[in-house]
C-alpha cells in the first residue's frame, strides 16, 4: 500500500570496509525474546528526545482467500478502533495527548504498526499496544463506518494513481493461483462483505505474540525496554502458529496481456511484470541491482534509452521484498505522439539488450555506490533504523542479515546481472498491462 517510501527504506547498501562507516553496526542492535515467542529489538540513539515502536506482524494479503480479500488491510484499520481498556477512539486520543503519533501499513506479506513519540511516553505506548494485541474489542458500529473509509481509500488510489490502477489488473493476470493475485486493498465487493466473526478470527490467528516482531529505536535504554516488555507484552499468551501459505503459482508459459481504459489518461502507460523468486533467493541481490541499473538516476538504462530519446516522460522499476515468488515491475509513461506499442517495444528492447550484451563493471560499481548511499540515508533517522532492522528480520529470517548484505551485494558480478536478466526478464514469463484513454480498435 505504500509503494515508494518502503522501497527506499529497504534499499540496503554495500559497506566496503568497516572503517568507512559511522552508521549503525551489528553490535548497536540488542535483541531479546519473551517466553511467548515475541522477539524485541532495541537500537539506542539519543540524537533527538524521541523514539519509535515498530510492530511487524506476519500477516498480509497472501494470507487471505477469495471472499475476504483485503481483510488484512481492513484489519489494520480495526486495530485502531477500540479494545478493552482503551475503547473506540481512545487509542489515538491517548497517544496524541502524550505527544505521540502513529500510522500503519499493510503489504502482500506483512502488516506494520508505527508509533512515533517523545521517549518520555514509552510506557504509554506499551500499554496501548498491549491492550490492542491482547484485548481487541471489535465494535460493530466501527466496522460499518470503517468500510466507508477503506472504500474511499481504494477509490482515491484508483482516482489519483495510474500505478495503482495498472498494478491491480496486472497482478490478477500474472497470478491465477497464489493470493498475490489480488491487490492488498482487496476487491470492492469483499470490503462490503466480511463479517464480525471473520475479523475476530483474524485477530486471534495472526496477532499472537509469536507471530510478531517489535523494534524500538531512539532515546531509550535497553533495560527500560526490557522491563516494560516484561510487564506489558510477556503476559499475552502465544497462539498456535497460523496455517502456512503453500500455494505455488504454476509456471507461466507464455506472455499475458491486460488492457485498462480510462478516459482522462493523457498518454498511454505501460507496465511489465516478470515473475521473480522470493527475497530469500540468492538471485535477490542481482535482481535488486538490475532494478537500479534500469531506472535509478538519469544515467540509468531506461532513462537514457527512453526518456532522453523523448519516447517516455517517466520510467520506473519496482521489486517488493516478498515471502513467496513475486513480480519485478517495469513501468513507463509515453511521451505524446508515442503509442503504447512503441513504448512497450522500447522498454522491452532495453531489457533485452541487458540480457543479450550484459552490463559493464562501471555500471555495476555505480549502482553499488547508490545502494551504499541509500543505506546511509535510511540509517540517518530512528525511523529508517527501525523499519530497516524489522524488515530484514522478517524477509531474511534474521536482522543480522542486514550486515551480510554488503558482502552479498559486493559479490554480484556483471555476469550475474546478465544471467538474471536472461533467466527472469523473458517474454514467456511476463505480463503486459496497458492503460490508455482509448483501447485500440479491431478495425
Amino acid at each position: 500500500m505504500m509503494r515508494k517510501i518502503i522501497a527506499l527504506c529497504m534499499s540496503i547498501g554495500v559497506l566496503f570496509t568497516s572503517a568507512a562507516t559511522q552508521a549503525t553496526q551489528a553490535e548497536d542492535i540488542k535483541s531479546f525474546t519473551l517466553d511467548n515467542g515475541m522477539k524485541i529489538m532495541v537500537l539506542e540513539d539519543s540524537s533527538i528526545p524521541n523514539a519509535n515502536m515498530y510492530l511487524f506482524w506476519k500477516v498480509g494479503s497472501r494470507n487471505e482467500v477469495p471472499g475476504i480479500t483485503g481483510i488484512s488491510h481492513f484489519f489494520e484499520h480495526m486495530m485502531f478502533n477500540g479494545s478493552k481498556k482503551y475503547g473506540p477512539k481512545m487509542f489515538d486520543r491517548t497517544m496524541e495527548a502524550a505527544g505521540g503519533a502513529n500510522n500503519a501499513y499493510t503489504t502482500e506479506n506483512i502488516t506494520v504498526y508505527t508509533d512515533w513519540f517523545p521517549s518520555n511516553a514509552l510506557e504509554t505506548m506499551f500499554d496501548l499496544e498491549a491492550d490492542r494485541i491482547a484485548n481487541l474489542d471489535i465494535n460493530e458500529k466501527m466496522v460499518e463506518s470503517e468500510r466507508g473509509v477503506v472504500a474511499s481509500e481504494r477509490t482515491t488510489g484508483l482516482e489519483n494513481s495510474n500505478w495503482r490502477t495498472l498494478q491491480e489488473e496486472i497482478k490478477g493476470a500474472a497470478f491465477r493461483a497464489h493470493p498475490y493475485s489480488w491487490s492488498v486493498i482487496g476487491h470492492e465487493s469483499d470490503i462490503a462483505a466480511w463479517t464480525l466473526d471473520d475479523l475476530v478470527q483474524y485477530h486471534k490467528t495472526y496477532y499472537a505474540p509469536n507471530n510478531g516482531v517489535v523494534v524500538i529505536a531512539g532515546d531509550v535504554k535497553l533495560n527500560e525496554v526490557k522491563a516494560l516488555a516484561n510487564k506489558y507484552f510477556a503476559p499475552i499468551p502465544a497462539q498456535a502458529p497460523p496455517r502456512e501459505v503453500k500455494t505455488v503459482e504454476p509456471l507461466q508459459k507464455g506472455e499475458r496481456r491486460v488492457y485498462v481504459q480510462k478516459a482522462s489518461v493523457s498518454t498511454p502507460n505501460v507496465m511489465l511484470a516478470y515473475h521473480v523468486p522470493a527475497t530469500t533467493s540468492d538471485d535477490y541481490y542481482a535482481l535488486d541491482l538490475l532494478s537500479s541499473i534500469l531506472t535509478t538516476g538519469n544515467s540509468s538504462r531506461l532513462y537514457q534509452g527512453l526518456v532522453e530519446k523523448q519516447v517516455a516522460i517517466e520510467v520506473e522499476t519496482y521489486m517488493p521484498m516478498s515471502f513467496d515468488p513475486n513480480l519485478f515491475y517495469v513501468m513507463g509513461v509515453a511521451n505524446p505522439g508515442i503509442t503504447a506499442l512503441e513504448l512497450e517495444k522500447g522498454m522491452i528492447a532495453e531489457i533485452n539488450r541487458i540480457a543479450r550484451e550484459g552490463v559493464s563493471q562501471h555500471e555495476l560499481e555505480k549502482v553499488k555506490n547508490i545502494k551504499l548511499m541509500n543505506f546511509y540515508r535510511a540509517m540517518e533517522t530512528i525511523n529508517g533504523k527501525a523499519n530497516t532492522v524489522g524488515t530484514y528480520e522478517l524477509y531474511f529470517g534474521s536482522y543480522d542479515k542486514l550486515f551480510n548484505a554488503p558482502e552479498a551485494y559486493n559479490k554480484v558480478t556483471p555476469e550475474d546481472i546478465q544471467r538474471v536478466a536472461q533467466t527472469y526478464l523473458r517474454r514467456a514469463n511476463r505480463t503486459v498491462a496497458v492503460l490508455a484513454a482509448t483501447e485500440e480498435s479491431d478495425e
Binding site: G99, N160, S264, N335, Y376, R377
Partner: protein, 482 residues
C-alpha cells in the same frame, strides 16, 4: 495504510514571542476552572552551526553532523514563480541549470553524480529557487564545484532545453490525471488571481511554449547573484576546511545589477464573495475538494499558535475534521486543514475527498465542523493534548542533514533565526485558551470562503452551485483558472 502522511505539506514558520491577550469574549461550553496540564516531551535545541557572509554577500550556513558520512548542500536563490514574467520561467530556469554547466554536458553531470551514488536536483517554488546535492563526504571536492557550476555558470543548451520543455509540457497534462496533485495550483489562482502568489511554478502548456533560452539566460543573470543567495552545508566535514573551499569556489562570483523584488505585500485581492471553481474531470469516481481563503505570512508572530489550533481542527488523526468526516461518518479516507505560509501572505485550506455521490454531505459536514471554532471553541484538555502533540512531533522534523539544510535555507529566505527552534516548546507551552480565541477570530477565514472541486460535473454541478458563484472549467484545459 491507516492514513496518508503529508497530504498537504505544512512547513512551520518562525515564531516571535507570543503575546498573551486577555480576551473579553467568553467561550461557550468552556469550563474556566480546567487546570492546564503540560506534557514534558524532552528538550530539543538547534545543533551548533555557523552563519557568515562572503565579501560578495553570499550567505553561508555550516552545520557539522557526524552520524553518517554524508553531506547535504542546499543553495537557495531568492527568486521564484512570484518573479515570473512568462509563467514558468523561474521553474524552467532552475531545472535548466542541470542541462549542462561550465562546459560539462547534461550527460557528463549525470554520469558523474550517479557513479558517486550522489544526487543533485534543482527546482523553483513560489519564492525560492533551490539547488540541492546529497553525497558521500569523501566526494566533496567533486560535488561542491558542481554545485558552484550549476549556480554560477549554467550553459542553457538550446537543444537540451527544447527536450526538457517538451517533457514538462507533457508532464503538465499527466499531472492533471491526479486531482490531488494539481488542486493546490487551482486554489492559489482562485485566491490570488493576478497577484504573483497565484502563479503556478510549473507554468502552463502555452506559457512554456513561449519560453526560449535567451529568456532563461536573462532571468539567471538578473537574479542568480551572490547577494541574493545562500548556501547551507550540513553533514560530515570540518568547518575550517569547508570555509577555505567555499571561499575559493564562490569568492569570485560577482554581483550584477540590483535585484528587483516584487511588491508582494501590495495589491492582494480582496475576497468579497464565495466562489466555487468546479473543475470537470469527466471520468472522476470521487470529488477532491479544498475550502478556505487567505492565511498568514511566514513571519507572523502567531504562526506557531496557529499550528496548535489547526492541529485541533485538522492537523492530526483525532482532529475535528478527520474525526467527523472519516471516523464518525465513513465519508472519506482523510480530512485535514492547514496554513500554507508565504513571505507576505498565505492560504488556509480544508482538504478532503469523497465518492461523487456524497459530495454535498462531505462539504456540509466539513463546514459544520469548521464552524465549531466559533460556535464552541476549544477546551483546556484538547488544547493541552494538541500542545503535547505539536511538541512531541517537532524534533523528528529536524533529524537529518537534509531537513537541517532546508531549515537553514528557509531561515535565509524568510528571515527568521534559530529562536524558532530553541523557543518552540516555550512558545507552545505559553499558549492559553484566551489566545486560541484571538487566533480563531483573527486568522481563520470565517465567511466568503473559496472552493475548488475537482470531480464529475455532470454529477456535482448542482451541489457546487449551493456554495457560491460557480466558475466551471475542464481539467484538461490549459492552466489552472478560467
Amino acid at each position: 495504510m491507516k492514513l496518508f502522511i503529508n497530504y498537504i505539506p505544512q512547513k512551520l514558520s518562525r515564531l516571535a514571542s507570543v503575546f498573551v491577550i486577555a480576551s473579553a469574549v467568553g467561550l461557550a461550553g468552556c469550563a474556566a476552572t480546567q487546570q492546564s496540564v503540560s506534557v514534558d516531551t524532552g528538550s530539543f535545541k538547534m545543533p551548533a552551526y555557523e552563519h557568515y557572509q562572503l565579501d560578495n554577500g553570499l550567505s553561508v550556513y555550516l552545520m557539522p553532523q557526524k552520524e553518517v558520512p554524508l553531506i547535504t548542500v542546499n543553495a537557495v536563490v531568492r527568486v521564484g514563480a512570484v518573479n515570473d514574467t512568462t509563467s514558468g520561467v523561474a521553474g524552467m530556469t532552475a531545472q535548466s541549470l542541470l542541462l549542462g554547466a561550465n562546459g560539462k554536458s547534461k550527460s557528463d553531470i549525470e554520469q558523474m553524480v550517479d557513479f558517486l551514488g550522489a544526487s543533485i536536483g534543482a527546482q523553483a517554488g513560489k519564492e525560492g529557487s533551490y539547488v540541492g546535492a546529497d553525497f558521500m563526504a569523501k566526494d566533496v571536492d567533486k560535488m561542491l564545484p558542481l554545485v558552484r557550476d550549476l549556480l554560477v555558470s549554467p550553459d542553457f543548451d538550446a537543444s537540451e532545453f527544447d527536450k526538457l520543455r517538451q517533457r514538462e509540457m507533457a508532464g503538465l497534462a499527466q499531472a492533471k490525471e491526479s486531482p490531488r496533485n494539481v488542486i493546490g495550483r487551482y486554489f492559489d489562482k482562485l485566491v490570488f488571481g493576478q497577484h504573483p502568489y497565484g502563479n503556478p511554478s510549473s507554468g502552463t502548456r502555452t506559457s512554456l511554449e513561449e519560453l526560449n533560452v535567451s529568456q532563461l539566460r536573462a532571468f539567471h543573470k538578473s537574479y542568480y547573484q551572490p547577494s541574493n543567495s545562500s548556501i547551507a552545508i550540513v553533514g560530515d566535514f570540518e568547518p575550517a576546511v569547508m570555509k577555505t573551499k567555499l571561499a575559493s569556489l564562490f569568492g569570485t562570483w560577482s554581483n550584477g545589477e540590483a535585484v528587483q523584488a516584487p511588491m508582494l505585500a501590495k495589491q492582494q485581492p480582496t475576497l468579497d464573495k464565495s466562489r466555487v471553481l468546479l473543475v470537470n474531470k469527466g471520468d472522476a469516481i470521487e470529488t477532491t475538494f479544498l475550502i478556505g481563503g487567505k492565511g498568514v505570512a511566514r513571519d507572523n508572530p502567531d504562526y506557531v499558535g496557529l499550528q496548535v489550533v489547526n492541529t485541533i481542527l485538522g492537523g492530526r488523526f483525532t482532529s475535528w475534521l478527520n474525526d467527523e468526516l472519516r471516523v464518525n461518518a465513513g465519508l472519506t479516507y482523510g480530512a485535514r486543514s492547514g496554513f500554507t505560509p508565504y513571505s507576505k501572505g498565505g492560504v488556509f485550506r480544508i482538504s478532503t475527498f469523497t465518492k461523487s455521490e456524497t459530495t454535498k454531505e462531505a462539504i456540509d459536514l466539513a463546514l459544520k465542523t469548521y464552524a465549531r471554532l466559533w460556535e464552541k471553541g476549544i477546551d483546556q484538555a484538547t488544547l493541552d493534548s494538541a500542545k503535547a502533540y505539536v511538541k512531541g512531533q517537532f524534533p523528528p522534523k529536524f533529524e537529518t542533514s537534509g531537513q537541517m539544510a532546508e531549515l537553514l535555507s528557509d531561515m535565509y529566505l524568510y528571515g527568521f533565526d534559530d529562536a524558532f527552534i530553541n523557543d518552540f516548546q516555550k512558545n507552545v507551552d505559553g499558549l492559553t485558551l484566551a489566545d486560541t480565541q484571538r487566533l480563531i477570530s483573527t486568522h481563520f477565514p470565517q465567511d466568503k470562503l473559496q472552493y475548488v472541486l475537482i470531480g464529475n460535473a455532470a454529477k456535482i454541478a448542482d451541489v457546487a452551485a449551493q456554495y457560491g458563484e460557480v466558475i466551471q472549467v475542464e481539467i484538461d484545459a490549459i492552466g489552472f483558472d478560467q
